[in-house]
């Protein structure tokens, strides 16, 4: 266990950024998102939730796959290179780290997504415990401990110091690199902080949400439920929930004609969009109700069915805060619960 004074953090960032890319929460035009560190960047480690989850450090919103260039009447294909440089993501929260586990199950299972795999391989994560979880948080429901993030390095911001604890080999390696800035520390302060965080979490309204009835076996029962017809109605079919979500993994593949070449790229897709999974024959989800249902069924039923009961929601609460119509997964879970109670 090490620690570093808050005032030395910029030296720490500079040192990391000297040898590799460093992503961390940066405030731009009033909003905090993960972005590459630079001297000018306004680092905002105090922010509990970045608007977008940091998943795009590993699964960017858009990424090139390959470019086709025309040479005379011939074509030349130039594949995009895989990530080969190490990088650090600093300040991810426990829920976001758990989100990566959800993505891993999808992208690292056969067939392996090489782009994602390369990023996972080269990325080192320094996770920061949540000092004060908020009322929209419900990570505990999914077994996430906001006080004790599981990453390459776990960190706690306590008073004027940042506590640092390497948990993996990658974490050790990074620790070694920045050792000169760290000093030894004992765990008492961290243990106290953990208790404090868990104490706060206990008081939050969503933390003890029940997931009774939501599992891989609930498929047809939940799918056919009439309640969806009610729940989806305020949904505006925007993609906010999916784009801020740390676990949504759907993407679309598109071509861009630059005039001289065609770039094939992939970009996040949203099951809320009307052309989601549009195929040559048309669309297999023609109504917003179906698309709305898809999102929650996927998170709470389909995904657990295929991943040993693991949900693909980590309770970060971003959708709770950002949905323009104030819909969210918690309301859906509660609505079914209530209905169940009435039955």
């Amino acid at each position: 266990m090490y620690k570093i004074a808050k005032e030395n953090l910029s030296a720490l960032f500079r040192l990391i950024a000297d040898s590799q890319e460093l992503y961390l929460p940066v405030k731009t035009a009033g909003q905090v998102n993960f972005a590459a560190w630079s001297e000018e960047a306004e680092v905002a480690l105090d922010t509990l939730k970045s608007v977008k989850s940091p998943k795009d450090a590993f699964f960017p919103q858009s990424e090139g796959l390959y470019t086709v260039r025309r040479e005379g009447k011939k074509m030349k294909v130039e594949p995009e290179e895989l990530k080969s440089q190490d990088f650090v993501v600093f300040g991810m929260k426990a829920c976001d780290v758990k989100g990566l586990e959800v993505l891993d199950n999808v992208f690292l299972a056969d067939p392996i997504d090489t782009f994602y795999a390369a990023r996972r391989e080269h990325g080192t994560i320094v996770a920061l415990a949540c000092h004060e979880p908020e009322e929209s948080c419900f990570c505990k429901v999914f077994g996430v401990d906001a006080a004790d993030p599981a990453a390459d390095v776990a960190a706690w911001m306590i008073g004027e110091d940042l506590y640092w604890k390497a948990l993996t080999e990658k974490g050790e390696a990074l620790t070694k690199k920045v050792k000169e800035l760290l000093s030894d520390a004992d765990e008492t302060a961290v243990e106290a902080e953990k208790e404090a965080i868990r104490g706060i979490a206990e008081k939050l309204p969503y933390m003890n949400l029940s997931l009774d009835g939501w599992n891989g076996d609930a498929l047809s029962e939940k799918f056919d439920d009439k309640l969806w017809e009610e729940l989806y109605k305020p949904c505006l079919a925007c993609g906010t929930c999916t784009f801020v979500c740390p676990t949504c993994q759907c993407y679309d593949i598109k071509d861009y004609n630059t005039g001289n070449s065609v770039s094939r790229y992939r970009c996040w897709d949203s099951c809320m969009y009307s052309d989601f999974t549009m195929m040559a024959h048309g669309n297999n989800r023609t109504s917003q109700m179906q698309r709305f249902r898809q999102r929650f069924m996927h998170k709470l039923v389909y995904y657990p069915a295929n991943n040993d009961g693991m949900y693909s929601c980590v309770g970060c609460g971003r959708c709770v805060e950002k949905c323009p119509a104030s819909l969210n997964i918690v309301k859906v879970i509660k609505a079914f619960q209530k209905q169940g109670g009435e039955r």
């Binding site: 858009s62 009322e135 706060i200 008081k203 906010t240 598109k254 897709d269 052309d275 819909l327």
Partner: protein, 324 residues
Amino acid sequence: MQELINRAKEMLDDGTVARVLGWKAGDLPYNPEPAYFEDAESLKDFVYNGFCGANLSKYMIEASKLEGKTLVFLKPCDTYSFNQLIKEHRVDREKAYIIGVGCKGKLDIEKIRAQGIKGIESIEGAEITDDADTLKVQTIYGEKSCAYADAMLERCHVCKGKEHKIYDEQIGESKETKDGERFDEVARIEAMAPAEKFAFFQKELSKCIRCNACRNVCPACSCRKCVFDSNKFDSAQKANVDSFEEKMFHIIRAFHVAGRCTDCGECSRVCPQGIPLHLFNRKFIKDIDELYGEYQAGDDTESKAPLTNYTFEDAEPSIVGKRG
């Protein structure tokens, strides 16, 4: 609020309307959602308070397709949108029974959070009947307070007025909230040097995640299929690959609603990245006012929209450079 519920019950009971479109209390103090109520029983969840910012006119497009009349609660600014939708034949006036509800400014939870208030348990003072100028917020860390005006959405500070432009009846008082000028911010940007303007918008738009919330919440963006979702212009790019995409999207978004946008402010309210999207729309409104005469979309259902109208003496496009 009880008055609204009572009236809604009455109208459901006597069969005047088949459903009620209003807001349903959320599970947090600040997240009520737009909702349909089809029986008196369900109305127990009805709520109307400072957090009911959603413009229900947009939902009336779908409601107009349903059997029977819909009782809809519209705030003063929502009625402009409703008028505009009538003009564009997107809602059916006959299918709507409009109760104009009072408004004393709508609240933005982000603004409350920005004051360092977290762990919110309950909020007092947001009810429409409350006279207090201060919100009392109970948090897990104790009671906090926040001036109502400081928690208000930007749009309420430059409110167009608390007059309902269309309604069947009105319930509830309104309170004037305007304490700023609508076009001040636009004028401030106009006065910047080109490089400065560019930097400003570049910074704001770089946050855009193309979630389309601004578009989908907009009562003017009521296209069945947006050009950015269709192949008609070869413009269906979902990605934010390069900064150009956002500029294209936001300029065209604003252009397509130019002369139709009522300045209801929903786009800015819903943007997850807090981009001041209204600055695009208001720029067009300001230009239209200055070049073609004052025009408020949604003021009526008859007048010719500025972009489907002209005069021989209209300003030449070169005026853009001359105005400096």
